[in-house]
């Protein structure tokens, strides 16, 4: 499979990279590990006239820092380096598990990056296909057309989904992204970085680069967990996933966030389903109740777009949320 012709730049440092992107705007795309971008470029669904390689920026933008109750991960940190960072994996086993679940060891673990995972495009069974496969179908919303194939006749927008495992867990952890442009730095909550629009899932300007992601660990004991359903144990994107972050104070839930992957164009944060847990002891009955509600809330978002039975995915929301919550509670209590 051939790539379409493209130009290639490899700026020496961050300021050179930002200047090049500002000059080229939407004509250019960033290249980190390339494991999301290049398959899409081969399929003719990535607008990549010029790629700007981030390889020389790795020393500036890689690494995990733990300081004053905050964890910061450089955008170019590889999935493996982040997931296996001793302090990160001890404090955030859910994030460790989410990153380790991505693809396969020799595919992207040493070359795919956390920033690339956060900025990876949304996906759909009818989109991530060869041009020959797509030729029989009208162009969909994401490609400038006016249909959504899995969405059906009533769909008025793109229903592609976020299948980035790292993004779903970091969303549950209420992380924020650091973004740089020639004008300077800004911080944007992942809640706002993801637009929820399949056509344009990321709220980044054409001249902006994600430089890192960081999150507050909080004062109370924190438990994190990630549960992913995929066709195989490796090489496969989630068909559905749930991430839970739960804080306990004196045995009572002080804060909790749950996000779903492969359901919506952004990691879908479930607010109302888990709100009743706050201020309560996390008994199995209460967790099961929250998981049941989660299933109900997620149902309208799901369409048949990832190559797995739709009813099964609907039924499984309750199951993955229950598993993630139960494990997060165990971990917040100090268990493994």
């Amino acid at each position: 499979m051939q790539l379409p012709p493209m130009d290639y730049l490899a700026p020496a440092d961050l300021s050179e990279a930002l200047a090049a992107k500002a000059r080229l705007g939407d004509e250019a795309v960033w290249l980190a590990g390339g494991t999301d971008l290049l398959p899409r470029a081969k399929q003719g669904i990535a607008a990549a006239r010029t790629v700007i390689s981030l390889k020389h920026l790795a020393p500036e933008l890689s690494g995990v820092r733990v300081q004053d109750g905050r964890i910061t991960i450089g955008a170019l940190t590889t999935l493996k380096a982040a997931g296996e960072h001793p302090e990160l994996s001890r404090r955030l086993p859910g994030l460790r598990d989410a990153l380790a679940s991505i693809g396969a060891e020799t595919l992207q673990q040493s070359v795919g990056t956390v920033g690339g995972n956060l900025c990876a495009d949304t996906r759909c069974l009818y989109l991530n296909q060869s041009p020959a496969w797509r030729a029989g179908l009208a162009p969909c919303f994401k490609l400038g057309g006016e249909v959504c194939h899995p969405g059906g006749a009533s769909a008025d927008r793109c229903r592609s989904v976020c299948q980035s495992d790292g993004a779903v867990m970091l969303m549950a952890l209420q992380a924020e992204a650091q973004v740089a442009s020639p004008q300077g730095q800004r911080t944007v909550a992942l809640d706002e970085l993801y637009t929820g629009k399949g056509e344009t899932p990321l709220a980044l300007q054409a001249d902006e680069l994600l430089t890192g992601v960081s999150l507050e660990l909080g004062d109370d004991p924190l438990g994190t967990a990630y549960h992913k359903l995929a066709l195989r144990g490796a090489l496969d994107y989630p068909l559905l996933s749930a991430a839970a972050a739960l804080w306990l104070r004196d045995g009572v839930v002080s804060r909790v966030r749950v996000a779903l992957g492969a359901v919506y164009a952004a990691p879908l944060v479930l607010i109302d389903a888990v709100a009743p847990l706050v201020g309560q002891e996390p008994t199995p009955e209460r967790l099961a109740q929250a998981a049941r509600k989660a299933g109900g809330h997620a149902e309208p978002f799901l369409v048949d777009n990832v190559g797995a039975d739709l009813q099964w995915r609907k039924d499984m929301v309750r199951v993955v949320v229950a598993r993630a919550l139960e494990q997060a509670v165990q971990r917040a209590k100090g268990g493994a």
Partner: protein, 165 residues
Amino acid sequence: MSLAIKSQGLRMTVNGEPVELLVQPHETLLQVLRERLDLTGVKEGCGEGACGACTVLVDGLARRACLTLALEADGCSVLTVEGLADDQGLSIEQQAFIEAGAVQCGFCTPGMLLASHHLLEQNPRPDEAEIRRHLSGHICRCTGYAKIVEAVSNAAARKRGEEPS
């Protein structure tokens, strides 16, 4: 749009030999290794990252050559299956694959060998779960994997100077 795109210089070390050539920016490392350098041990299975047949080591890290722009390897050292054997003969991993019957059609074998080499460089004593995890991104349509896992385990023992159990 694409007419103005210029070739760029690429220098790398491939299997210990320095090479220098002009490439188009959209050429993948897979294309350059196979079509320019005749290193046809690098296989193209899927061309989109999902099979592992094209795996090579770039500066010691496993990469899909089909998803790597050749220019990304500028200044790097690349190892392909052709670089595993030396004047003395096949590498320990290659010998172990043959002895265990871990090769049938052979299409996945170069990727499997490089992944195995990569694993044993980092972990001289992998258990079966670690071997399976490391090879999990490699698809073999022939062997059923059991012989491959056995071969890697035997190669690990040989590399440690022990007899395979």
